[in-house]
Amino acid sequence: MATRAEFLGRIRAEVAKTPGRFEAQTATRPPRPAEAAQAVRRQMAERWPEALERFRQEFEQVAGVFHRVKTVAEVPAAVLAIAREKSAREVVAWDASMLGLDLRPALGAAGLAVGTVAPGDNGEAARLRHRGEAARADLGVTGVDFALAETGTMILLSGAGRPRSTSLLPATHVAVFDRRRLIESLEQVGIMLEALHVDPARTMSGAVINFITGPSRTADIELTLTRGVHGPKEVHAVFVDEPLGSEGPA
């Protein structure tokens, strides 16, 4: 078995045999990512209405279901309506501090069990308990870190209080976000992710970033499009005009 030094040494030797190849450039990265990310935020503070409309169109094109409510107070009712439609009995959700609102009072009052995990609660017992909850749940409610308009994609960072399975195991995924999450292009996503990675202390506590573009799908049997093969069969976006109480990643 090769050591790192041997392995890379051999590659270096091969690379050295190809001098004077044409000049090729990798993509130009923002020199100061944090500032570039701030500039994107400022642009989007102006342009979010167009981005929202584009997001809605693209999201619906990938079979997403779009909802819009005016106030944060209306969100629980919107989530409850989806839960009723799906005859849901159990729900898992990101922690209230991550979601920007607490769903438990309203959903609990309607007889739904809501499983959440507090940010500090990450021991083996909590892991096992939550795995069971997520596997049983009919509905998973998350926030969104970036809502990418040009493809109708919701980008979610994992971390404390924001389990990865919430948007994966339940058959229906509901994501709640406000205007501060909207961005326009993959290029801007690149800037935001560059900024996240140079500032790990404040931002990326978790190991995973998921780009979610509509429900889980397959066409592996005679090219027939079928939804919900492993992940959610339905994905809902609930947009709130009023700012949510959660702090975003950047």
Binding site: I11, Q25, T26, A126, R127, L168, V208, T213, I221
Partner: protein, 469 residues
């Protein structure tokens, strides 16, 4: 079933079998035509696509020019995040590393998301021998695993199966007769595989990309199985060819804009999952351990070799769909892990030129593959060079080399060329029917067995040109 099992028969027989399989012919026609249309639509609505393809190509080239540096940085970052990096010179090394991990960690079952790299190293067979149950979780891969077959397309592995055949396969596992309805079968697979995800000790993935600057492995899937296998089992192992590393997140966005559009015509696949290391501090879910296996397997020697450009490949499958040969014979007839035009080059890279002495000719050199490639790999040029090398290295059969040598002689001498036209005109007389040569004697008959040959003209262009000039 070993990846080489199909090789007991020569390529011409494998291709012949595929050509006589009427379902396969129909399925291939429908699937490849559909993929071509989806890709075309996706790029029509994406004017910046062409410029991005140039940029993507430049990024791949620039990365290769400093491949050692990028791999080193990737490894540093993965280790900084608490992951482990393994260096595999050969497919055998990569297999052995996975098996050792299974032994050391007491792994009984491994769930896999779709990965060509693990197909390439015949990992499933090795795991089974070691007493570990590998479960393919991409629906198409699951189907062919149940059928004990191999993928026939890079992104649609089971396109050669009818829904009736799939129903039979899944019914056996489900323990009840299921209708031949994709909706029903997919729902059944969801239940069967969900159980596996929750039970498995190890999740095995490939990697579509790895970002050196951040230590991130990128998995692109539509089903969400890539997310399952990196979320639920206690160990995540990623097996990746060294050419998949890219420098930064900014570079990644260029490739994401192209990959799904080229493969399935989607703007993005349903899931693009960026994973760095094992579960991080404060996180509830995710594996305890993350292992990255960086595999050479014949790639490094092509950095300065004739197949260098094949190292740009994103494995989107677009070149398969447009290839007139693939469209006729499908993936299995190629007999190796990677089918289609790029597959011929990748097979030569991984297994040596000798392994493609027949396949090197399974191309019309029409150039459609190069036209659709998201990184504009010049596949036809490399196929011609490969053929040259087969001749130079005397790997091509002696008879073939003799014929081409004789042909070269004819083309180099004007007298010989003209004379041969005259002789040919006389010799062909008994065989011309309705203006076509339909069957020829001796070994020439091989050509006319499956196609007609136009006869030598009554007056050649040379002769007519004399009158005109």
């Amino acid at each position: 079933m070993s990846g080489e099992a199909g090789l007991a028969t020569p390529f011409s027989e494998r291709a012949g079998k595929a050509l006589r399989d009427t379902f396969l012919q129909e399925a291939l026609g429908i699937a490849t035509t559909k993929f071509i249309g989806l890709r075309r639509e996706a790029f029509e609505g994406f004017p910046q696509g062409d410029a991005l393809r140039d940029q993507a190509r430049a990024i791949k080239e620039a990365t290769l020019q400093r491949l050692d540096v990028h791999l080193g940085r990737l490894a540093d970052n993965i280790e900084r995040l608490g992951g482990h990096v393994h260096w595999a010179d050969t497919a055998e090394d990569a297999r052995e590393i996975v098996l050792k991990l299974c032994r050391d960690k007491g792994v009984r079952m491994a769930v896999k998301s779709k990965s060509m790299a693990t197909e390439e190293i015949d990992l499933n067979e090795a795991l089974e021998h070691a007493g570990v149950t590998p479960v393919e979780t991409d629906l198409g891969e699951y189907i062919i695993q149940l059928a004990h077959e191999r993928p026939s397309h890079i992104i649609a592995p089971a396109i050669h199966k009818t829904k009736g055949q799939v129903a039979e396969l899944i019914s056996v596992v489900a323990g009840k007769q299921l209708a031949a309805d994709p909706e029903v079968l997919t729902a059944a697979a969801r239940v069967l595989l969900r159980e596996k995800f929750l039970q498995a000790d190890m999740g095995i993935t490939g990697a579509n990309f790895a970002v050196a600057e951040t230590g991130t492995v990128v998995l692109v899937t539509n089903e969400g199985n890539g997310r399952m296998v990196t979320t639920l089992p206690r160990i995540h192992v990623a097996v990746m060819g060294i050419e998949k590393v890219i420098p930064s997140m900014t570079d990644l966005m260029v490739f994401l804009a192209l990959l799904a559009r080229s493969a399935t015509g989607q703007k993005l696949s349903s899931y693009t999952t960026l994973v760095r290391g094992p579960r991080q501090a404060g996180e509830l879910e995710g594996p305890d351990e993350f292992h990255m296996i960086l595999m050479d397997g014949g790639r490094a020697r092509q950095i300065a070799g004739p197949l260098r450009e094949a190292l740009y490949c994103l494995r989107c499958g677009a070149c398969l769909n447009v290839c007139p040969v693939y469209r006729q014979i499908g993936g299995h007839a190629y007999g190796h892990t990677y089918p289609g035009p790029i597959g011929i080059l990748l097979t030569a890279m991984l297994k040596g030129d000798r392994s493609v002495k027949d396949l090197a000719h399974a191309s019309t050199l029409c150039g459609a593959c190069k036209d659709v490639c998201p990184v504009r790999i010049d596949i036809p040029r490399m196929l011609v060079e490969l053929r040259e090398n087969l001749d130079r290295e005397k790997i091509a059969p002696a008879s073939e080399r003799l014929v081409f040598k004789a042909f070269r002689g004819l083309l180099l001498s004007e007298t010989a060329f003209k004379l041969s036209a005259r002789i040919g005109r006389l010799a062909q007389r008994p065989f011309v029917r309705n203006g076509k040569l339909r069957s020829l004697p001796l070994f020439f008959g091989k050509w006319t067995a499956t196609r007609d040959l136009p006869p030598i003209a009554a007056r050649t262009f040379h002769e007519r040109w004399k009158d005109l000039a």
